[in-house]
Point group: C2
Chain length 327, copies 2
């Protein structure tokens, strides 16, 4: 019998989860839950749509609820709340607040004897796994995380709010010199400016002062002032044609030393290049939904993270198959 999945929130991420479940024969999406009028929402694969407020009526019809809201206001409330009645998975990604989130969700899930897996995606998620494995194997070393090449939606939004800007897309790109120095095992001290550049494609409104827009972007505190930022003005047609997607990715690199006097250097590098940020995150959520269901069946209650879950739990097949074919 398939694992019955609910999708709570139906934006880019929720839509990605719906499609990702199609790629997994052991998964079945039984409902999408939205705060919009359900009659106004049409799903991609014909999954029924329910009002978010009615979610608890589906308590016995869903094995795992995948939460697809945002980290700033949705998930801190929704994940603990839904963990009172469902096994849940989320991609909460405000790094500094993860311990608080884990504690709140754990309290709810322990009471309800449900299992919750939080902060799975690619960072946090796959990148966290890589940082943890590499640190554990090479304790004498240094870890670096780079993001990009990819679209930062927060930075794109910040540009769009500038007077005279019609549309914009911002790419975060790791600096090649920084990657080379890290890979060489030089353990460089890297400032914010050393690690990434920011490249902006901006559509100016007719008659707007482009020089002023560029200056406003480049000098914007927090978002751009600490980076080398390049601004390209292009037409709306060009933006639509060449910058429609939301690709992302990045690298985790750890270099470490072993042996007498640390004479041997080692480089561990994990790289993701994703055409669709949301769809890859959705795919990670779905794999962890499987793990969450299995853990709950075994009595593994409470809040888990990617670090707590044996890799074999993510795999659709049997452990023996994985050992025989992949080990």
């Amino acid at each position: 019998m398939a694992i019955r999945i609910g999708i709570y929130g139906y934006g880019n991420l929720g839509r990605g989860v719906e499609l990702a479940c199609k790629q997994n024969a052991d998964m079945e999406v039984v409902g999408v839950f939205t705060r919009r009028d359900p009659a106004s929402v049409k799903t991609q694969t014909g999954v029924p749509v329910y009002a978010a407020n009615d979610v608890f009526e589906m308590k016995d019809k869903i094995d795992v609820m995948i939460l697809c809201g945002g980290s700033s206001t949705d998930l801190p409330k929704q994940t603990p709340e839904l963990a009172k009645a469902f096994n849940v998975v989320d991609s909460f990604d405000t790094h500094a607040n993860i311990p608080t989130h884990v504690a709140a969700v754990d309290a709810a899930a322990m009471l309800s004897k449900k299992t919750a897996t939080v902060s799975v995606g690619w960072d946090p998620g796959m990148f966290s796994l890589m940082r943890a494995y590499a640190l554990s194997v090479l304790p004498d070393g240094q870890t670096y995380t780079f993001w990009g090449k990819g679209v930062s939606q927060g930075h794109s939004d910040a540009i769009r709010r500038i007077d005279g800007v019609q549309d914009a897309k911002q790419y975060t790109i790791p600096k090649e010199e920084a990657l080379s120095a890290v890979r060489a095992g030089d353990n460089p001290e890297l400032s914010t400016r050393d690690k990434h550049i920011r490249v902006c494609y901006v559509v100016a409104k007719e008659g707007a002062d482009k020089a002023k827009i560029e200056r406003t972007i480049v000098e914007m505190p927090n978002y751009f002032a600490d980076y080398d930022t390049t601004v390209h003005f292009i037409s709306q047609e060009e933006l639509n044609r060449d910058h429609a997607g939301l690709p992302h990715g990045g690298l985790v690199i750890r270099t470490g030393k072993t042996g007498a006097d640390g004479k041997h250097k080692h480089v561990v590098e994990y790289r993701l290049q994703l055409d669709s940020n949301a769809e890859f995150t959705a795919s990670v959520l779905v794999a962890y939904a499987r793990a969450t269901y299995r853990l709950n069946q075994e009595g593994g209650y409470g809040c888990k993270t990617a670090l707590d879950i044996p890799p074999v739990y993510l795999f659709a097949g049997h452990r023996d198959t994985l050992i025989a074919e992949l080990l």
Copy 2:
């Protein structure tokens, strides 16, 4: 109190384990076990040396025994045998025989209520983890494993056995064209010859027939005939100076598709570049020795692989630290 480690077998790997334990404050090596005369063996850090035959006398003084013998004849016997009295970790790497090995070790460890972790190193081991995670997250895709640039000791030995050869070193190197095609998401069908080249540095004995040596290498079945192989004749001085180390490494790359009609491509790439094959493998063994000890304390008996163990068990510190700092 530190985890008390025993090292069974004292070649390159055993020596690497001894040094790796020095990098982990929660580990203490209490003894090295050798089939040689213990009086003839001097350890690098002053660890006492015992006869392998006396190992069971140390039953209560060792928390985890790390087995450092070879996969062809040592480990298939030693790991199940020692699991009768010790928690054990090995790097058994004959892929085809892993299921049999797991079964034999599991039977022994379940009886003794010990925990055994087998086949940890980098392949099998870290590479297995990467294959399993990537497959689980991107079920619609293809995985490729490449080895090198690195020294293959088996191939180097095969060259040394040729008449007229004094010494030799063989490097396995992934083909750049193959890596590019895989990274591009083309899902290429790659033959053995397509994936790797073999480069040999050979010292010929005085007066030896170099043309004949080269032909013998290039045409050697199983070892070289299926590859593009290059042979360089150099002096013993050059070999000693430029090819003394045993570096290795490789890549696991999975490309997969998501979304409507699979229109979004994703590339997951894990790369290792290791100055010392043995010392990195030793570092993985030591991290899994910690996990093995913890599992046993919790009653997790029997035979485990890297796929069965939550990442957090490898980390020296507390789970809360890992969640706060690395997630």
